[in-house]
């Protein structure tokens, strides 16, 4: 980077280019959404059989291409913005040094050196000569120049040298920015086949890391979300950014944006979908190239072989394999939900991925909404119970779908959103001996206690994004140990919800419904024929004083059920919702009088 180039450089040209890539990214995002939410559902109803399968496969590939384009163009736009930021900073320093030099009538030469005129006290009738100061960025050399300035009879020398040094520093800064960003921008070139492979998505991850490193200073100007901020703080920070700054932040930090309570649902969704695509690719690649397990035992030697131990140390062993397989299964399940958009009699609405992490609190984090909770009239958050994890989340997602359909048909013309919330370390089982635990893990309230704060924060974040407590009628639905989580979160007056529904609850850590953080009369409980969990729960004391929510002394509205067992509350028969399901829908829809009580 030479003086002439930096002098005539217009950083705004890079920002304009960034705008172009941003527009392309937005277009790709819109196209991807249209495929998923309009075109694919339309094809499912109008095509059949093998034609439908083939068409949907192609659409899926196209949608992936658009998603990849969206993400990479987003990274390019952010890189160009960060480059423009760095270059603008260098240019400001250059312009300032040049202006100062020219104000003293010095001449800045094409090579960045500064020529100064004769000045100072005459000796022998002559002014001390002028000269040309060549700039240096070397500290030692600069010191030498500073020392010699004290001995130079021309007072201009010292200042000219200073200006030349500042010019040199600005040029070096610009050269460094150029050197930093040129390879990163070159790396953002796609390969020239039309398939977006696992490798391509894995590259997106490393591209993001690279851009993050380069954009460190630029990121600092954006600030970040407040440390330990409340959902309100997070929302405030997000609102303070410009559209462009928000887009750049999402491109650089999709994982942290995706988990920020208080941010709008569509922002979290976009961020988490990028994380999902990247993790899926990363895990597939790792699984495909996993070194095969060596012989574990070699009798008569006792214990495991050395090769096996080394393999475990290097790769993470069977545990890592299980984690990879389970995570991929869970991610496929999430993708299935995206593919179900538009199906069903009422047309399942678009899905919003409000949270995603293969690890989460230990069992993975999956938070998916049917329909946009930010604009919903009635919102429900379903908290699953024992045994739930990312790999097995399919059943819970289906329950949320059924809750959405049944509730929506109760309130035509109104917007409904149902959310599945899995973001806690879930105990393995509520029944003795199942899962190998003589005393079931779920008899211990510690999991619920740990889950209480994240759950509270999540609910508070939804409320914030909706626009406050009056914006939507909200119900939380807890199944089994999920109800214990709700009880814990609610005990300290910290739950942003209007109604609480619990099914098969083993106890809510309190002995009366009025202690929960909803208005009196707004707690609803169910226990089906053949559901042993509430009784087990009262024995181990998850309810205070052995009281569980379906006990009369708890003071909840006990709803009638027509289903069997601990897990039938969301069943339908031949498409017709059970009374158990309809009752939940009645509460979610705020139609309390339409509930059939026991």
């Amino acid at each position: 980077m030479d003086y002439k180039t930096l002098k005539s450089l217009k950083p705004s040209e890079f920002e304009d280019a960034a705008d172009g890539y941003r527009a392309t990214s937005d277009m790709a995002s819109a196209a991807k959404d249209r495929i998923e939410n309009l075109v694919a559902p339309g094809m499912r109803t109008s095509l059949e059989g093998k034609t439908q399968e083939a068409a949907l496969q192609q659409l899926k590939a196209l949608s992936q291409n658009f998603h990849y384009t969206q993400t990479e163009c987003g990274l390019i736009a952010t890189s160009l913005n960060a480059l423009a930021h760095d270059l603008a900073s260098a240019k400001r320093k250059l312009d300032s040094a040049v202006a100062d030099a020219q104000a003293e009538k010095f001449t800045v030469n094409p090579d960045g050196s500064v020529t100064y005129p004769a000045a100072g006290e005459k000796t022998d009738g002559k002014l001390p000569e002028g000269g040309t100061a060549k700039g240096t960025t070397d500290d030692a050399a600069a010191d030498v120049y500073r020392q010699s300035a004290n001995f130079n009879p021309n007072p201009n020398f010292g200042r000219a040298q200073e200006y030349a040094n500042r010019i040199a520093a600005a040029l070096q800064e610009a050269t460094e920015a150029d050197g930093e960003w040129a390879p990163k921008l070159r790396a953002l070139k796609a390969d020239d086949d039309l398939t977006v492979s696992h490798r391509d998505w894995a590259d997106v991850q490393s591209d993001t890391r690279g851009v993050n490193k380069g954009a460190k200073e630029y990121l600092e100007t954006l600030g970040g979300p407040p440390k330990d901020g409340t959902p309100q703080d997070n929302a405030k920070w997000w609102k303070s950014l410009t559209e462009e700054e928000r887009a750049d932040y999402v491109a650089l930090r999709p994982a942290s944006v995706g988990v920020l309570d208080g941010l709008p649902a569509d922002v979290r969704d976009e961020a988490n979908r990028t994380v999902l695509a990247e993790k899926r690719a990363q895990f597939h690649l790792e699984l495909n190239s996993f070194p095969p397990m060596p012989m574990k035992y070699q009798p008569p030697t006792s214990g495991t072989t050395r090769e096996y131990r080394e393999w475990v140390e290097r790769t993470g062993g069977e545990d890592r394999l299980e984690f990879l397989r389970n995570s991929i299964k869970g991610m496929d399940t999430i993708q299935d939900r995206f593919d179900r958009t538009g199906q069903g009699p009422d047309g399942l609405p678009r899905a919003y991925l409000l949270g995603f992490d293969p690890k989460g609190a230990g069992d993975g984090r999956v938070i998916i909404a049917n329909g946009n909770p930010d604009t919903a009239d009635h919102t429900a958050v379903y908290v699953p119970g024992t045994g739930t994890d990312l790999a097995e989340i399919g059943g819970d997602l289906k329950r949320s779908d059924d809750l959405w359909a049944t509730t929506s048909s109760k309130v035509p013309g109104r917007e409904v959103s149902t959310i599945t919330w899995l973001d806690y370390d879930v105990p393995r089982s509520a029944k003795p001996v199942v899962e190998g635990d003589l005393i079931p893990e779920a008899s211990n309230p510690k999991w619920a206690i740990r889950a209480a704060s994240p759950f509270s924060e999540f609910m508070s974040g939804v409320q914030e994004a909706q626009g406050g407590p009056q914006a939507s009628h909200t119900t939380v639905v807890g199944h089994s140990y999920g109800s214990t989580v709700i009880g814990e979160a609610s005990k300290h007056g910290d739950l942003a919800s209007d109604d609480i529904v619990v099914a098969g609850s083993p106890g809510m850590q309190t002995k009366h419904a009025d202690n929960l953080d909803v208005e009196n009369g707004h707690v609803w409980a169910m226990k089906a024929e053949g559901d042993a969990v509430p009784t087990l729960g009262s024995l181990v004391g998850l309810g205070e004083d052995s009281t569980v929510p379906t006990d009369p002394e708890f003071g909840a509205n006990v709803m009638k059920t027509d289903t069997d067992g601990h897990s039938g509350y969301w069943d339908s028969d031949s498409g017709r919702p059970s009374l158990s399901l309809k009752n939940q829908a009645a509460v979610i829809a705020g139609k309390y009088d339409e509930v059939v009580l026991k």
Binding site: K410, G413, G575, R576, K591, E594
Partner: protein
């Protein structure tokens, strides 16, 4: 319409969902209301505990709303009178077991193997959301025809 023990009738799924659409249309006609109707389409679902690759049942849930409640009440009376004239058998007409004691009509069309439950949810004074006439139309189990040729 108790089909326990009897082998479900073999019918193409399209024929069964077409039937559902026709019956729903008939019900809507009898109601004679000018309002909004939800756009749900009839769908096929697994039938109870039976093998879902062999058997299915049809379900068609829909509602009418944005109509004054007195008109809905008249529509319920019309249904009670006219459904029998079209081959239906009315199996129940009275308040349901919710606190609202909503008026509910049950009817069967055994020839076509369909049942319907229609509930008038009068929400005046207890909700800002519109009052609705909820229709829940469902069929018995059918069997997918054998794949020949």
């Amino acid at each position: 319409m108790d089909d326990s023990g009897k082998e479900p009738q073999k019918r193409e799924e399209k024929d069964s969902t077409d039937d559902a659409a026709k019956l729903s249309s008939q019900i809507l006609d009898i109601m004679g209301l000018k309002g909004k109707v939800t756009k749900a389409a009839p769908g096929a679902y697994p039938c109870g505990d039976r093998d879902h690759e062999k058997y299915y049942a049809v379900h068609h849930p829909w509602s009418v709303y944005d109509v004054p409640v007195p008109d809905m009440e008249k529509a319920m009376k019309r249904l009670k009178e006219e459904l029998p004239q079209r081959g239906w058998k009315v199996t129940g007409y009275g308040p349901d077991s919710s606190r609202a004691k909503s008026l509910q009509l049950g009817a069967e069309f055994s020839e076509k193997k369909f049942k319907v439950v229609i509930t008038l949810q009068d929400r005046r004074g207890r909700s800002k959301d519109p009052s609705i006439l909820e229709v829940d139309l469902g069929s018995a189990c059918f069997q997918y025809p054998d794949k020949s040729s």
